[in-house]
Structure formats: structure tokens, C-alpha cells
């Protein structure tokens, strides 16, 4: 019946043809969105790699004047094969780099609870597999002026998005990673807590 209608109505065929093209473009956009973000993040990371090695950033870090979106530290997790540059700030714009440092927490390797958030399924998905971390796995942070190593203290756990206490200050030197949970959703947060092990000598 629809075919007969389409056969007899040329204008209807053309209209539906236009609609199908729009649907096709919309569908491709939605399906291809995660891939597009990964490509976007790759470009940003290339810029950040250059920036973190620059003397200007080193000076800014010393003066504690890192702007939101600028390189702050490199994070390496050997157990996951992760090596990416973390920027300052956790705004949506800053997090297009993949991972960002909560600005209200101490700078990496300093006394207290350093907190870093990272994407899990988009924008390079740096924290895509942090749920696989086990106690004892190491996390290395390298800043423009030094670095340190943390060790995962306990198995990852899930909290509500409003559970800000996980990034509250701690008396010891610790590192907290946060990412969305479950994968592809922002309904909850996955938390990884690590404690300081040792400092690294500046390069």
C-alpha cells in the first residue's frame, strides 16, 4: 500500500528521500560520535605532549599558575598500558584532553589527596580499563618539575556522582582516580585510591 502510494506520488518519494538522508546523517553522527572524540583527543594530546616539555610550562608549574586546559602531569599505569597527559581542570572542555586534575586538590605528588578524572569510553578513553586495577598496581605521575609513584591501595569501588568526599583531603599523600560507571554511562562513578610510594628524580 505504501509502495503504491509512493509510486503514484512523486512529491512523496522526494520528501521521504530527503528525510531518509537526514536520518542517515543523524544516525552516522550519533554512532560515530565516540570515534570522533577519540580523534579529537589524539590531536589535543599531541599539542599537550609538546607543551608539557616546554620551559614555559615548567616555569608556570613552579609558580603554580597552570591554566585550565594546560598540561599538568603525565600519568602512566603500566598494568593497563596507559600513558597520557593530564590537563589542569575537570570542566567538559578541559576533559576533552582525556583526563583532568581536580583543581581544588593538591598538585601531583604533593601532600594530601591528589584527584584526577578521566574519560572511560570517549575522548581517548584513558580510564577505559581502570576497573581492572588491583591493589599493588603502580601509578606514576611525572610533572614538569619531578614525579612520584603511587600504589593502588584497594580494589576499585563505585559511588554516586555526588559523593565528593572521595576527593576530600587526606592526611597522607594519596592519589584518587575517578571515572564514570558503568561504561558509556554517567550514572555512577568508579573510584581508585592509591597511596604514595616514592618520589622520582627530576629529569
Amino acid at each position: 500500500m505504501l509502495v503504491d502510494l509512493l509510486r503514484s506520488k512523486r512529491w512523496l518519494r522526494r520528501t521521504l528521500s530527503g528525510v531518509s538522508v537526514l536520518l542517515l546523517l543523524g544516525g552516522l553522527g550519533l554512532v560515530g560520535y565516540p570515534f570522533a572524540t577519540n580523534m579529537w583527543t589524539d590531536r589535543i594530546q599531541a599539542r599537550l605532549e609538546d607543551q608539557i616539555a616546554s620551559p614555559e610550562l615548567q616555569q608556570a608549574y613552579k609558580e603554580r599558575k597552570i591554566e585550565t586546559g594546560d598540561s599538568l602531569t603525565r600519568i602512566k599505569i603500566p598494568a593497563l598500558g596507559l600513558d597520557t597527559v593530564v590537563v589542569e581542570g575537570v570542566t567538559p572542555s578541559a576533559l576533552r584532553a582525556g583526563a583532568g586534575h581536580y583543581p581544588q586538590t593538591p598538585l601531583p605528588c604533593e601532600q594530601g589527596n591528589v584527584a584526577i578524572a578521566g574519560h572511560r569510553t570517549t575522548y581517548g578513553r584513558p580510564f577505559g580499563n581502570v576497573d581492572q586495577l588491583k591493589p599493588g598496581d603502580t601509578i606514576e605521575l611525572t610533572t614538569p618539575i619531578g614525579g612520584c609513584v603511587y600504589q593502588v591501595a584497594k580494589a576499585p569501588w563505585v559511588v554516586a556522582p555526588s559523593e565528593l568526599s572521595v576527593i576530600d583531603p587526606t592526611s597522607e599523600r594519596s592519589l584518587t582516580l575517578t571515572t564514570c560507571h558503568p561504561k558509556g554511562s554517567a550514572a555512577q562513578r568508579l573510584i581508585i585510591r592509591a597511596t604514595w610510594v616514592k618520589d622520582l628524580k627530576a629529569a
Partner: protein, 442 residues
């Protein structure tokens, strides 16, 4: 079936696309209704059954009042006889969600000012401010009002007796002579009555000495000067979702002068008054107030045994007072009041008055008896509530850990759009007309 499935797929696709487009828009365009001026109103109602001025003594019988406003306040009072505590009920509330309904205040066989006896007088009042709708109700009622006979009746009987005795020497003359003799005493009353009976000044009738004697006997039989029956007086103010209404009603009354005068028990004079009603309404949506009234009607019934014992009814015209027994000590004037409405052009408030009947009885006797019957009045006014649409202040975001995930339905929606697009393409392709070259090859 397949067609239905495809149409369903298209509808689903459109729904998904609509949701994708509408969600961000809805999040940005919230408004709220804000009250910029609260509603205010006031409504009053008052009714009076009978206001009696008895040889200088003032008594109000059957009085009620009610008032409400938007603060909220509700007041009501009802009195069988004003100022007599046992017959007065009052109640008042001044805060939301309150009510009061005291028991009726009643008294029986109540002497008033040494002049009246009231068999039963009751006052009632109820008020409420519950559910944001203030209301007030007051009512006053009496049953059986008698003027005490002895002191008042004696001088009148004496007066009538002296008048009638003066007539006896001429009772065998013609009717014209009788009328000429009576006219200065009974005034316009006789003219109307003899006219209705077909009697002129030249008529000759049987001696009337018997009739005069009958009248004398009747005066002797009369045991009361005045018998008053007054209906209930009610005042009510109510608030509904759409309007605030004040209603006052004074039920009818009957005044009998010298009851029992005739052998059949008829009084010399009966004045019958209908009910008076006043209503004022405030429309809460438009703030327009409307007054209406229904003024009382009245008629007079005369029973004069000396002229055949028949009863004659005389309607009373608006703005045309009727005077009976003019020039005599028994002169009586009856006036029918009109209704009227008043509107304040500045505030829009209105008032409505339904006046009843004013009667001045026996003017020649110590100032006489004044009666104001069936009076009702109401008034309302106010301002409507004003509201305005204001943009919602953006909601303060709840502090959260950084959002590093996405809405999981995005890829699903994308897949749905792709499937819908492919389905439509297939149908379009199937519907393409066969090309000429293909037809030739076939």
C-alpha cells in the same frame, strides 16, 4: 502488515529525533508563575426583619449581619431581638483554617421594654476560613410578637368609643349625611370604600345605628393593639472558586392593627409585606462586582365591619405613600421603599439595598408606632490577584564528581536512525517506476 511496521518505524524515528531536539530546548526555557499582587476582597451583608419605634421606644427584631475579607476574617451575628443578650449570637475568626459555630441563642416569652412580648426569639451565627474560602452566616428569627394590650389599648378604645358615640345621634340619616359626618374623622378611607361598594353621597340606606354599635362592640372585643409576625432575617457571605457573594434576605412580615376587631376575627388593618433580598457578587477572575436587589412588595387589607364587613385590599405603589385615617389621631401612612445599587467608580466596589416597607401607625398617639420592615443590604469590593510569568532562575548545579561518561542511549538512537533511513530507502527504491530502457529489454 509490513506497511504498518514501516509506518511505525518512521513514527518511532520521528519521536527519537523530536526528543533529541526538544530536550535541550526544554531545559533552557522554563518559566514560573509569580504572584505580583495578592487577591483582596471584602463582602458584607445585613438584614433586618423589623425596626420598631413604639411610642419613643426603639426595638429591632430579627437582625443579622455577616462579613468576610481576604486577610482572612469572617464575622457573623444574628439576633432575635437586638441588644437582648439571650437572643444574640456572634462569632468571629481571624486566621486561616478556623471555624466557629456557637449554639443558637434563644429566649422564650420575652418581655421587651414593658411594651412587647416575644414568644420565641433566636440568634444564630457561623463562621469559617477553612480551605482558603472564608464564609460567614448570621440569622435572626422571632415568633409571635404581641404588643401588650392593657396600657396601650385603653386610650385607643376610649378614643374610638367617643368617636362612635358622637355618630349615634345621626345614625338614621342618609348615608350621605353619615359620610359627611365621618369624612373629617376617617379621611380618604371612606371615599375609597364607599366607591367600591357603589354608594354615593345621595344614597339612602337603612339606619346604620346597628353598624355603629357593632363597631363599638368590636373595639371592646379587641384584646391587642398590634400583632406582628416577622419572618427570618439572614445574612450570608461566601467564597467560592469563582466568586465572593454577599446575600441578605429579610423574609416577609404581617402587621395586624387591632386584631379581633370584627366578629370574624379580622383586624382593622392588615399590612402584608413580602420578602426583600439583596445580592452583591465579586467575580474573582475579573474583579468585577455586581449588585442586584429584589425589593419587598406590600399590600394593605382593610376590614371595616360597619360597611358590610367585607375585606378590601389596597395595593401600595412605589413612591406613592398611602395615608389612611388622615387628620385623625389614628392617621397611618404606609410607604413602599425601592431598591437601589451604588457603585464606587474609583474602587469598583458596589452596594445593593433592598428597602422594605415603612409604616407610621397612629401618628396622633404619643408619636405613634413606626415600623421599618424587610430591609436587606449587601456590599462587595476587591482586587483580583495579579500574576506574571517569570523566567526560572537557572538551577544551581548539584556538585558532582567530574562527568566523564555519556548518555548511553546516543549510540542506540544512532542505530535506530540508520535503520529507519535504510528502511525508507528500500521502500522508495521498490516504488521507483520502471525505466523505459528496462522495459525495452524485457
Amino acid at each position: 502488515m509490513r506497511t504498518v511496521q514501516r509506518l511505525g518505524a518512521i513514527a518511532l524515528t520521528a519521536l527519537v529525533m523530536g526528543a533529541v531536539l526538544a530536550l535541550p530546548a526544554a531545559a533552557q526555557t522554563g518559566t514560573q508563575t509569580v504572584e505580583t499582587r495578592p487577591e483582596s476582597f471584602i463582602a458584607t451583608a445585613a438584614a433586618r426583619g423589623l425596626d420598631l419605634n413604639l411610642f419613643g421606644n426603639h426595638v429591632t427584631i430579627g437582625q443579622s449581619s455577616a462579613l468576610i475579607n481576604s486577610t482572612p476574617t469572617a464575622k457573623a451575628s444574628g439576633a432575635g431581638i437586638a441588644l437582648i443578650a439571650g437572643t444574640v449570637s456572634t462569632s468571629e475568626v481571624n486566621a486561616p483554617e478556623q471555624s466557629a459555630a456557637p449554639p443558637k441563642a434563644c429566649a422564650i416569652n420575652l418581655p421587651v421594654a414593658g411594651l412587647l412580648t416575644v414568644e420565641l426569639a433566636c440568634g444564630e451565627s457561623k463562621v469559617s476560613t477553612t480551605n482558603g474560602a472564608p464564609s460567614a452566616y448570621g440569622a435572626g428569627a422571632v415568633a409571635g410578637v404581641d404588643l401588650l394590650g392593657a396600657n396601650l389599648l385603653d386610650p385607643i378604645v376610649d378614643l374610638l368609643r367617643s368617636l362612635l358615640n358622637a355618630l349615634l345621634p345621626v345614625v338614621d340619616q342618609t348615608v350621605g349625611t353619615v359620610l359627611n359626618t365621618l369624612t373629617p374623622v376617617l379621611g380618604n378611607l371612606l371615599g375609597g370604600l364607599t366607591g367600591s361598594l357603589g354608594l354615593g353621597s345621595g344614597s339612602t340606606v337603612a339606619p346604620v345605628s346597628g353598624l355603629v354599635n357593632d363597631l363599638l362592640d368590636g373595639v371592646q372585643r379587641a384584646t391587642q393593639l398590634l400583632d406582628v409576625k416577622v419572618g427570618d432575617s439572614t445574612a450570608q457571605t461566601v467564597t467560592t472558586a469563582g466568586a465572593v457573594t454577599a446575600t441578605a434576605t429579610a423574609a416577609g412580615a404581617q402587621i395586624d392593627l387591632l386584631p379581633g376587631l370584627t366578629l370574624g376575627g379580622s383586624p382593622l388593618l392588615s399590612i402584608i409585606v413580602g420578602s426583600a433580598k439583596s445580592v452583591s457578587t465579586f467575580d474573582r477572575a475579573t474583579a468585577v462586582s455586581t449588585p442586584t436587589f429584589d425589593a419587598a412588595v406590600a399590600r394593605v387589607r382593610l376590614g371595616l365591619p360597619l360597611l358590610g364587613g367585607s375585606v378590601t385590599e389596597i395595593p401600595i405603589q412605589l413612591n406613592a405613600p398611602l395615608t389612611l385615617l388622615a387628620g385623625t389621631p389614628l392617621e397611618t401612612t404606609i410607604s413602599l421603599g425601592a431598591g437601589r445599587t451604588v457603585k464606587d467608580p474609583n474602587t469598583g466596589s458596589v452596594a445593593s439595598y433592598a428597602d422594605g416597607v415603612s409604616i407610621q401607625l397612629l401618628k396622633g398617639l404619643n408619636g405613634g408606632i413606626g415600623l421599618e420592615l424587610a430591609h436587606a443590604e449587601t456590599g462587595v469590593g476587591g482586587q483580583a490577584r495579579l500574576v506574571a510569568q517569570q523566567a526560572l532562575a537557572p538551577a544551581e548545579p548539584v556538585p558532582q564528581l567530574a562527568k566523564t561518561g555519556n548518555d548511553p542511549w546516543l549510540p542506540l538512537a544512532g542505530a535506530g536512525l540508520l535503520m529507519a533511513a535504510l528502511g525508507i530507502r528500500r521502500r522508495i527504491t521498490a516504488a521507483q517506476p520502471v525505466r523505459t530502457s528496462e522495459r525495452v529489454s524485457q
